[in-house]
Chain length 405, copies 2
């Protein structure tokens, strides 16, 4: 039997570690012959674009580089499949290609939409009594908003980047003797996990960030300004972390709502991110030194400060997916089940992919303070195990070496 593995959705620092895990376990499994890497997600199956992974990952050094390379080496896609009861052609095509290549197991590493693909294709297989093909989902997302799993591969490294960077920016912001406000914008359109991760800087005694705003509570300009003024009484350099997706009482994105009608120089409706907007707000209403910083894609691609725990468990969940497939499972998503925070322990399990598809795991309201402007100790206890350890880059000529297919 041959197998295939693909990557989908937004890149992370750990999606290649899960690919490595699938490859590593499959190589050791006697019943598996070829291990195909599918290019650009499910599109690569439909277009029959695959590479033989054992030709590409031909040495232990390559394997180690793969663990340390950000983004998705096989490429990605954003494609949602139709309902197979209404439109079955694409499912027939996928099945035809998989059979042509002798592929009995397909591993799909991705987020929400990818789990939707896993659920739909496994439903198609079931309805058509096809039992020589199995499909298994492997979670990943820096947003940590996948349901049914304690956390998602990729989140730990993004969290570690956010925390380490917020700490460095805190050092930077404290350099001048005049009062200042620094606003750091993280990713997270709907869930606040990444902004919350900034609380990890308290591990070594930092007081910052003084304010943390998540999409899970209502954001208001008035309360924000009052919060900032209040913190300025206590701290010379106030550090604010804000999720890109904070929302008004009407449930609309604050950045869009407060800037509606603004046009840019090209006459298009102009929207700066929430960080830049709040910078302008503080400048206009408080008038102190203020700066905003968007952590942007560095949150998801800064492998040079990846979490060892994240990379190792992402590799392990890839390996476990192969075992699950061998044991006959299909239509499932692999999950982490936390057994304890401290000392941290977890086991890997499976859940029905349809349960994880098309739903989002929000940051718990009870982990946010009453004022809605910071996170509470249970958040810290949850987050800390996920950022532990480092996996240093393999350097050449002063630069991290990457694995490229």
């Amino acid at each position: 039997m041959n197998i295939a593995v693909a990557q989908s959705g937004g890149p992370t620092c750990a999606i290649n570690a899960s690919l490595a895990g699938v490859y590593s376990a499959a190589q050791k499994e006697a019943s598996i012959d070829k291990i195909y890497g599918v290019l650009n997600g499910i599109e690569g199956i439909i277009n029959d674009e695959m590479v033989d992974l054992s030709e590409k990952i031909s040495s232990d050094v390559n394997y180690q580089l793969l663990l340390r390379t950000p983004s998705a080496v096989l490429g990605s896609c954003r494609k949602k499949l139709p309902d197979h009861r209404e439109k079955s052609e694409i499912y027939e095509k996928i099945t035809e290609i998989l059979r042509k290549r002798g592929i009995g197991m397909f591993f799909y590493i991705g987020g929400n939409d990818s789990m939707d693909t896993v659920a739909k294709y496994s439903d198609y297989l079931r309805c058509n009594n096809i039992d020589d093909i199995k499909i298994i989902g492997i979670p990943k997302t820096i947003d940590n908003d996948l349901c049914e799993t304690d956390h998602s591969p990729g989140f730990g490294s993004a969290a570690k980047y956010v925390a380490a960077t917020v700490q460095e920016i805190t050092r930077d912001s404290n350099v001048y003797s005049i009062p200042s406000v620094t606003i750091i914008e993280t990713m997270g359109r709907h869930a606040g996990w990444l902004a919350a991760a900034s609380c990890c800087i308290r591990a070594n005694g930092e007081a910052a960030p003084h304010l943390i705003y998540l999409p899970e509570t209502t954001f208001s300009i008035e309360r924000f300004l009052a919060d900032v003024k209040n913190e300025m009484k206590k701290h010379r350099a106030v550090i604010v972390v804000v999720s890109e997706g904070v929302k008004t009482a009407e449930g609309k994105f604050a950045a869009e709502e407060y800037q509606s009608g603004q046009k840019d120089v090209f006459g298009h409706s102009y929207l700066s991110g929430i960080g830049k907007f709040l910078e302008k707000l503080v400048a206009a209403e408080i008038g102190c030194k203020v700066r905003s910083i968007e952590l942007n894609v560095m949150q998801r691609c800064s492998s040079h400060i990846a979490s060892l725990e994240d990379i190792q468990s992402s590799e392990a969940i890839g390996m476990a997916a192969v075992e699950a497939g061998i044991s006959g499972k299909s239509g499932c998503m692999m999950t982490f089940v936390r057994e304890s925070d401290m000392p941290y322990s977890y086991r890997i399990d499976t859940t029905d992919a349809s349960k994880a598809a098309n739903s989002e795991k929000f940051f718990p309201r009870e982990w946010i303070n009453e004022e809605g402007n910071n996170v509470l100790p249970p958040a810290y206890d949850y987050l800390m195990p996920l950022i532990q350890g480092e996996l240093h880059a393999i350097m050449k000529n002063g630069m991290p070496l990457n694995f490229v297919i």
Copy 2:
């Protein structure tokens, strides 16, 4: 004799390494008693705010943490002194405080403005026949725009951060199969060294960045769009690096010039950075997937990926400053003199601080291609030695440990 050391100007990853170097050399010097750390630059002399550094840097671990901590642990200031011939009070005050504390040598780590202070105070000392106080400047700036020195402490680490991050963003940008443009904005209001440093990613075979724009050549929208369209024919994911300070043919900042008259939601004149502006331009004129990323203060504070060469040579130049002071020098700035690119070798020398003050070292025009949209091999040869080696953070609880006074 006691000595004092202060830090000034914008923070960097290496300004604390130079402080460590001064401390380390001074501790070994029998003629030096107390080593004062002056808080907030020259202001801390005027206000007599100093700490005894041997009480603060009390262990080897602290010393190692100091080498690895970004920003300026003593705090900083931005203060320009008046001409002592017109206004001598402040110089008298500085002299009074230094004498009261028995300080015979004052080391000032900083950029342009700090070297102006060194030059002016040493001129005051000379004109007033004061020879029991010496002042020595130690360069630092991530912008690398200080004259008289091969490079400035802090630049190598910023360059390494820029290069490593541009490489990671290049991985990230290559994940989708559709054409895209990614625009990365670096610091550098007048000099393009940091944007140019992105060329170091070619060390391991990258083709990116496909376009690099520096303030040293004229920037035009028309040529930029033609360049991007041209690169899109060759590369699916086009990577552009642009200095914040690129200028139009009239010598005005392009970002300001092209957006003049734009008002934000608060009615203030609105200026996004050049990266965001070019993102909107590409969206409007080319219409492809486009993203802009501002590297912001992370360029100057990302100690977790500091250049070992930078940190070690910044420490060494601090040590050499103490030797220079002991040998009787004053009014000078310490410099690096490059002896060879490959193998890299340099020596430390001194120059008159007034030669470095109030002037800027620009990126050489002959290191930029004729089209003005990329850098040439001599730039790479100059830059590569400066980003070599890593100094890993000392981690605790999954986070880098910092030294805080």
